[in-house]
Amino acid sequence: MNNFRNLNWSIFGAWLLLATIGLFAIYSATQGPVSEFLPDFIQNNFSKQLVFVALSIALVLGFQFFAPRSYMQLSYIFYGIGLILMICTLLFGVEINGAKSWIRIGGFNLQASELMKIATILATAQYLTSRRDISAENIRYAFIAVLMILVPTVFIILQNDFGTAIVFLALIPVMLFWSGLPYGVSIYIVSPALILYLTVFDWRLGAIATVLISALIFFVQKRPWLTFTSLITGIITVVGVNLALTDILQPHQIARITAFTNPAFDPTGAGWNVIQAKTAIGSGGLLGKGFMEGTQTQLKFLPEQWTDFISCVVGEEFGFIGLGLLVLTFLFLFLRLLNLAGNHKHPFAQLVTVSVAAVFFIHFIINIGSATALLPVIGIPLPFVSYGGSAFLTNSLMLAICLNMDLHKRDFSIYR
């Protein structure tokens, strides 16, 4: 049964390609001429990452010997352990870059929130697919599922890790949608985020989006009350954002938002990261400045260039060709994962695979969006590319689960 020939090697290959691009970028960002300005522990990042990539290859391949049933049954236990780890992090955690997301275990920093991602996906999927009659259409089931996601989210917010919290929150509509939430309601849940995003630029865009989304909901669902509620929610969002921008938010918070909509307003302060990131990518041009030749990277104009701004390193040194390849590789990975989900007969496998794809995608969009100033700067790593051992390991584990379920999809369907 463990026929490795049946492993989805294209996904494995895409994963390995991303890890390789990441290693090159991390090497350049920490070992290049820039290393002169970096403390030793950051210069060690490359070798640490290399170890984690090697470990992860072993993990992904080794994991294929498990049967999906084993972790399916253990998912609630994982979830419980995960929550305990989260609490421990809150109590005994180490703070890095303002977020208290790590616990020190034997000289190794563990980011429990990364593990929690897997645990939450597995447990919530397990819950939502445990019985045939469970559907997100039923408000009770939906509520429990939402709660299962929200509890770790609260811990993550308490840890001050806003980026990861967003990823968890984004899981809610995806998982509910997959579990039978009607299209219209799903759109409705997502709509405030989109309207908020547009309103920050211009309230008129937010207003137009409100009308269009309500129209779409009516068109999809034909439910006047839902349409009306959506319209009201949209209006409240637009008005609320405007009020927040003018009256409620503190000046330093407004400065952050201005830095996003107009970075030139404060180029050396709040706008610095955005301008430097755009400059790094833009100055890369078609072919890039060459490996370890990027002036923005090597002269330390980029903040956190081995994690949150790693795509700038790729963009600057390998140009449009390099960054384009990175984006396309990700797209390939997302589409293939969704295809895998489509091939599953088992709803658990479907839901987990879709959720994993969604988590990767949200990471990807927020990370690249921040670096290219499509989104405000939210510190979040790029899966498989950014430096970070826990993240790499858990992301690989998530992928390993997807590959494992795919490899075992024939015998797995028996458990239906």
């Binding site: 100055s283 078609l286 990700f330 797209l331 499509l374």
Partner: protein, 608 residues
């Protein structure tokens, strides 16, 4: 296909469509940044990491007429600041490293911010090497702070020359607002030759490009930049100053107050120029010693005041030779005309004449400084309505007009004519009484020592107008030497016979007149004329203008001593020694040097 799997299919396609769309947005964004806006960001990237840096050229050197180095440059250590990268919270650290009070550093930082937030300027210069090394070591803690080695003026010769060289000071706010090439912290000439020849001396700024990181640390030169430009050294000045003579004159003038001008009468080249008291131009090089600066600005002896060219005093009897020339030209007297001195010249009131009573012709009137003779001449000029003609003729000798010497703040003096007197007293409110004493160089007539030297030169060089100047030649960075030409022009109305009469009188002044005690030098024929500027506030000011050799003179020396009383015992020996030194190369009369060095003025207002 059942409902559930249909929904799954649709959902997957919907999700895939969303992902493809958003990835296309991202790709489009990247394409926009990297391909369409490439030029903008490429330039931004360069601006970020490549910093323009000016390379200061070496300021031009100053030499004496014989190629002796008088002024050069010496390296000093400076700290620079780029305010935009600097955080005010680092001020205490910075002041601790520099061992300066917080308040000083803070005010310097604020000055730099006012100058420009983005341009790098000098924060503090001429710090000692220890502080400089400390700053260098701690640069990583001090973003926005840089260091630089530049130079200050150094004066290797033993002359002081403060009133010749002048001093440099950091450009003021108005300076750099007016002149684009000046930056805050740049030193520019503020007086003397440094000011007049600032544009020659300063050279051309070089431009370098440096790679810098986000903390502003320099990572070495960025060579392949087409705009890189090496600095061009400033032009060297070769002056007309004779360093040995200058040094000697300065020694003689120590402790006295006044001015000395030694000049080549044939060319206008200034051989030595001393104004005493001097200030120490050395103390104004590098970082300004604030206390010293305040002292020289406020001291009652006014050391910054250049008495040799800026003071304006009645020339007294030194004016008489010129009066003689004008009297001859206007036909009021001939060389043979004799005028009787009774001890007084009476015109409305008695004018005392210290010359022995008796008959005087022009020669003996100059030799013995008879007032009666020249009062009579002036009387006749004024009463025959020739006051303005007199004034015009005298101006040909450089009095009452600007002399265009290449030093700042030279005084043009006063040589009155009717227009001037009308302005001064009101139309028809002045009379003969106000004019008469012009004839003996008193009253409103006034001149600087330089002007008297210039007048004397024109008398003794055969009647040529000369332009007094300090610059002999300019040597540019390539070593090309350009001689400075000065205009020499015959005064057309001056006849040789006028001059020879007057010169004989001046020779006799040394032999038998008031100059006879100290003026004569063994083996050298010297001529001269003493004078006294009456000073209502104290001791008279003494004048002496002299030249040698009497035939074909090579040097004119004019000495003006404030509050020194008798010129014959104060100013005369100074001039005499300078002439001896110049013509013989050494001074044999050491006793006279000692006399001058220990001179104490004795009051006597009576001499003319």
């Amino acid at each position: 296909m059942n409902n559930a799997s249909k929904r799954t299919r649709t959902s997957i396609i919907a999700l895939q469509a969303i992902m493809v769309m958003l990835c296309l947005v991202v790709l489009g964004r990247i394409f926009y940044l990297q391909i369409i806006q490439y030029d903008i960001y490429d330039e931004l990237g360069d601006k970020n990491s490549i910093r323009q840096e000016y390379v200061e050229p070496a300021r031009g050197l100053i030499y004496d007429r014989n190629g002796k180095l008088l002024v050069d440059n010496q390296p000093i250590y400076s700290i620079t600041i780029t305010p935009v990268n600097f955080e005010d919270k680092n001020i205490p650290l910075l002041s601790r490293l520099l061992e300066e009070p917080d308040s000083l550093i803070n005010s310097l930082v604020q000055d730099a911010k006012r100058y420009s937030r983005f341009r790098t300027s000098k924060l503090i210069s001429d710090i000692d090497f220890k502080a400089f090394s400390l700053i260098q070591e701690n640069l990583w803690q001090l973003p926005g702070i840089g260091h630089q080695i530049d130079s200050k003026r150094n004066y290797p010769s033993s002359i002081t020359g403060s009133h010749i060289f002048g001093y440099l000071r950091e450009a003021s706010e108005t300076d750099y607002r007016e002149e684009k090439s000046i930056r805050l912290g740049d030193k520019i000439g503020k007086s003397g030759l440094e000011l007049i020849y600032q544009n020659n001396l300063k050279g051309e700024l070089g431009v370098n490009y440096l790679k810098v990181n986000a903390l502003g640390q320099s990572l070495g030169k960025f060579s392949d930049q087409k705009n890189t430009k090496p600095p061009v050294q400033g032009d060297n000045l070769i002056t007309t100053i004779d360093a040995d003579l200058q040094e000697f004159a300065e020694t003689l003038m120590k402790g006295k107050s006044g001015g000395v001008v030694a000049m080549n009468p044939n060319t206008g080249e200034i051989l030595a120029l001393v104004s005493s008291p001097e200030y120490e131009v050395k103390k104004l090089a590098g970082r300004i010693d604030k206390e010293y600066w305040q002292f020289i600005n406020s001291d009652s002896t006014r050391p910054l005041y250049n008495r040799a060219i800026s003071s304006r005093q009645p020339p007294g009897s030194t004016f008489k030779p010129l009066m003689g020339i004008i009297g001859l030209h206007l036909g009021i007297v001939t060389p043979e005309t004799e005028i009787y001195n009774s001890g007084y010249y009476i015109r409305g009131r008695p004018y005392k004449d210290l010359a022995d009573p008796g008959l005087y012709n022009m020669e003996s009137a100059i030799a013995n400084s008879s007032n009666t003779y020249f009062l009579t001449v002036m009387d006749k000029i004024a009463t025959s309505g020739q006051l303005n003609a007199w004034s015009k003729l005298a101006k040909d000798f450089g009095l009452g007009i600007p002399n265009n010497i290449d030093l700042p703040s030279a005084n043009r003096g006063i040589l009155p004519d009717s227009t001037y007197l009308d302005q001064r007293f009101g139309k028809r409110k002045w009379g003969l009484g106000d004019v008469l004493n012009f004839g003996i160089g008193q009253g409103l007539v006034s001149a600087s020592p330089l002007q008297i030297a210039q007048m004397t030169s024109s008398i003794v060089n055969g009647g040529y107008k000369i332009e007094p100047h300090l610059l002999r030649a300019i040597e540019n960075a390539e070593g090309k030497i350009e001689q400075k030409s000065s205009k020499i022009e015959k005064i057309d109305w001056v006849k040789e016979e006028y001059l020879s009469t007057v010169k004989k009188g001046m020779r006799r002044n040394v032999l038998e007149g008031s100059g006879r005690f100290y003026a004569a030098i063994p083996d050298i024929e010297v001529s001269g004329k003493t004078g006294t500027a009456q000073n209502p506030f104290g001791f008279s000011h003494g004048w002496y203008t002299s030249y040698a050799p009497s035939e074909n003179p090579e040097i004119v020396v004019t000495v003006f001593l404030e509050n020194a009383g008798f010129a014959s015992i104060s100013a005369v020996p100074v001039a005499s020694l300078i002439i001896e030194k110049y013509l013989k190369g050494q001074v044999d009369r050491q006793w006279l040097v000692n006399y001058v060095l220990n001179f104490e003025p004795k009051e006597d207002n009576s001499e003319n």
